[in-house]
Amino acid sequence: MASIIDIKEECALQVRNFDFTYKGASAPSLKKVSMPIAKHSVTALIGPSGCGKTTLLRSFNRMHDLYPGNKYEGEIEFEGRNILDPKEDLIHLRTKIGMIFQKPTAFPMSIYDNVAYGMRLQGIKNKTELDGRVEKALQDAAIWKEVSDRLKHDANGLSGGQQQRLCIARAIAVEPEVLLFDEPTSALDPISTQGIEKLVIELKERVSIIIVTHNMQQAARVSDYTGFMYLGDLVELGHTEELFVTPKEKLTQEYITGKFG
């Protein structure tokens, strides 16, 4: 019954028959989800609370593995392999698929060290290289002008919106292929939200982006594709404009017109 669009362009990720069950739960939270994620575009996941959109997002970098007992079934293909394979190197995977969280997560260290953290983990020690890449990442995250004169200051002194852009800089500094955004603006004011949305659109030139959002207008503004999820099912995936203007599923239409949710 689900209406899933067939994406002609190259895909960054392919989800096939994916089931996810939380530890101790009797029923799976995601049921037979199949969807393509187009490369160098923004895919938004929308749906009411508890529909499984964040659960799906956190499966792409195997974040659920931090809490033992959760179960994956099916397949998520990335760079020609199934990343749900128990033998998957999670450290490598997470450098390729980065994540931005709902609340800004600036580490308790300086602005510079925050951005350099991921690169240092990969063993980059050369000061000139680090300096260059930190500056580039901060510029790409549109925060360089605000922080260039206080790189050694504590990152927790920044505003929420600045911290969120710092987290984006930190994530893109390691040059991932995919970036996962988990409601990245729900803790921010409208001006900061606008800044982050602009950034998301700019970044898709280089990375494939999946964004979970509660805000349907946000999905409409930033995404190329939108998936509507409900009770653990992917109900519909389509071009964003088509999904919002002429949804194929009745449930999607009811949700986007505000009949429930």
Partner: protein, 280 residues
């Protein structure tokens, strides 16, 4: 009298009684501190820091032996107890979490925190002093470390758990291995709290007498040999205070004053660090 008037009267009575109780409790504290400061200050002089213990009646007698002994014992206990306490606390918060083993360790640690310190002294006497055949600074330091561990373990556990889970997830999401997440992010976030726990742990053992009575024992002479009995401020204070000699009793007051100021200072610094951490 209306019901409201009655309630107002009861309210005032309760307020008056609880205020009075608080004043009485505090009065004793200030009484003790007042006597300590008056008697201790008048007994203080430079000789105390220059000379070691001597038989009663000698002018050139001091507390150098006990001051240095106290520092050695507490430092040694800190070196043994702090790493163990922090590592055990790290296990509980980052690895054990809500497992059965972790809960058992937490419960045992809480019981240990309220165990009578003389029992720990007796335990160390049986497992360290007896096999060695004599009292030693090592035995005293081990006894103090055992008392210190549960305090540091608990604060470390609590403080690490206060670090938001999303911060850990963010570090994992950048491809950090677990030990890196703990060292780079979790410890950094809980730095002030852990330091406070360490200072409070040191303050907790700094004033202990009972566990030293039959471990490091006491001595009236200056020594830095860890394999020998070692004088401490607390046991020296105890011995001098119950002696019938006036000059020894004076030294006892001085020892009490110095020790109290040291512990008070540690407590105040610990709290200030915690406050500064919270304000940020």
């Amino acid at each position: 009298m209306t019901a409201v008037q009655k309630r107002i009267i009861i309210n005032r009575l309760a307020l008056a009684f609880s205020t009075l109780s608080a004043i009485i409790a505090l009065a004793f504290l200030f009484w003790i501190l007042g006597v300590l400061v008056m008697k201790g200050m008048s007994a203080l002089n430079w000789n105390i820091f220059i000379y070691e213990g001597s038989p009663p009646g000698y002018a050139e007698s001091g507390l150098k032996h006990a001051l240095v002994g106290q520092l050695i014992l507490v430092s040694l206990a800190t070196v043994i107890g702090v790493p163990l306490g922090i590592m055990a606390g790290t296990y509980l918060s980052e690895y054990g979490k809500n497992s059965k083993l972790a809960h058992t360790i937490r419960d045992i640690s809480d019981i240990m925190m309220s165990a009578p310190s003389i029992v720990i002294g007796a335990f160390v006497y049986a497992v360290v002093v007896m096999p060695m055949g004599h009292f030693s600074a090592w035995a005293g330091a081990i006894a103090l470390a055992i008392i210190m561990i549960p305090v540091i373990l608990r604060t470390t556990d609590d403080m690490l758990q206060l670090v938001p889970g999303t911060l850990r997830e963010a570090a994992f999401a950048l491809g950090a291995p677990k030990y890196k997440v703990i060292i780079d992010v979790v410890y950094r976030g809980a730095k002030a709290g852990i330091l406070t726990g360490v200072l409070l742990g040191i303050a907790r053992v700094g004033g202990e007498t009972a566990p030293l009575l039959f471990t490091s024992f006491n001595d009236n002479f200056f020594t830095t040999d860890l394999n020998e009995a070692m004088p401490s401020l607390t046991v020296t204070m105890f011995n001098y205070a119950i002696s019938p000699y006036d000059d020894w009793q004076q030294l006892g007051w001085a020892a009490a004053f110095i020790l109290s100021m040291f512990i008070l200072g540690l407590n105040i610094i610990g709290r200030l660090i915690l406050l500064a951490g919270k304000r940020k």
